[in-house]
Symmetry: C2
Subunit: 194 residues, 2 copies
DNA sequence: CGCTAACCGGACTCGGGGGTCCGGTTCGCT
DNA sequence: AGCGAACCGGACCCCCGAGTCCGGTTAGCG
């Protein structure tokens, strides 16, 4: 019975220490991915969690599953942000605010862009991606209908621009929020109607 | 004696077959890098050149040297393009034309963006990069002075936007010139004055 | 308290890419 | 043609990260 709802579906009861370690691992992974990006290694995550590699693989069958878990959190965050933006009175300003908020967070958390860029296909992650994509498209549509964006702007463009820029800035260890905000502006300008 | 000037400095005379293989390797590398990006492996390049790995390492002490050789060619091409743009009557149009030309070539040659993104520091390559950077900055300055670009636009922005987008599009195996031209436009729009 | 199932983690294998070595071959000068 | 130096490439080494195994440990129920 004990079908206590967890963050993720938990079919069988586990021991308390196992549950605790799973949480430690996912926290450590989020921290490491935030610093180094999704390409960070499992050994580093395990060490940061104060745990052996095997323990990581106990809760997450492969590295992809671990990445997916963190990425899903970030995608859900973006979805919430974009959905909130839909209720804003000024569609163009709402769009800009959302992009800048994402860019700002990315300054201190590489996993934001990483979650959009990850080339991983697991049901959980695909679903989160689809939801985020839909929310962003809605945000774009509203701004376009208000005459603020170019006709062919899509959420794909957003992903390409944002994850691309993020990739380059991460390699140069850029963490200055001002720089990130500025590139957020550039993205907005790129999609704005001429 | 025999100090015949080569493309790259050649201190000692080599045998003809060695010289021929060097050329084959660099052609193969350019082709592979164009298809797969600078992260392609040496084995693949050697095979494409019809040569063993060791022969690759005979002419190029490390993979970085090989990448640098191809990257320098591409950077020189960009430099020529940008320099020609400087003589154009319309600074804004010249800027746009150059960006679009680069984007168009990138559609079928990943090494263009790769040459700007490569995190390699060899004298030859650093020099080429500096020259390209200067030429692009001059192009930007002229367009800005004409009132076409935002005040803070730099060649660094160009590199960040272009290599970033290229990175994402390469991963999705995008080779359609139309798509590339469109992203070229987006880059131009991003840097345009509002 | 005691016992068993579940869990833990250090040590292991496996695969792939960069870089090197040596026995056989070829160039090219005489 | 003959010969030595230079060159060729298949086989090898090393490192690093993903993923697995087993002997020791601990939770937690009766």
């Amino acid at each position: 019975m004990a079908l206590a709802a967890e963050t993720t579906t938990q079919t069988r009861p586990q021991r308390a220490d196992a549950r605790r370690n799973r949480e430690r691992v996912i926290r450590a992974a989020a921290a490491v991915f935030a610093d180094k990006g999704m390409e960070a290694g499992i050994p580093e995550i395990a060490e940061r969690a104060g745990v052996g590699k095997a323990t990581v693989y106990r809760s997450f069958p492969s590295k992809e599953h671990l990445v997916a878990a963190v990425a899903t959190e970030r995608l859900d965050w973006i979805t919430t942000l974009a959905t909130q933006g839909l209720t804003d009175d000024d569609p163009a300003a709402a769009f800009e605010r959302v992009i800048l908020a994402i860019a700002e967070r990315q300054a201190s958390d590489c996993a934001v862009a990483g979650s959009m860029a990850a080339d991983i296909h697991l049901p959980e992650l695909d679903a989160a991606r689809a939801t985020t994509h839909a929310a962003l498209d809605a945000l774009l549509d509203r701004a376009r209908d208000a005459g603020a964006l170019r006709d062919d702007a899509t959420a794909v463009d957003l992903r390409v621009l944002f994850t691309g820029i993020a990739h380059v800035l991460r390699e140069s260890h850029e963490h200055d929020p001002a720089v990130w905000s500025r590139y957020g502006e550039l993205i907005v300008d790129a999609l704005r109607v001429r």
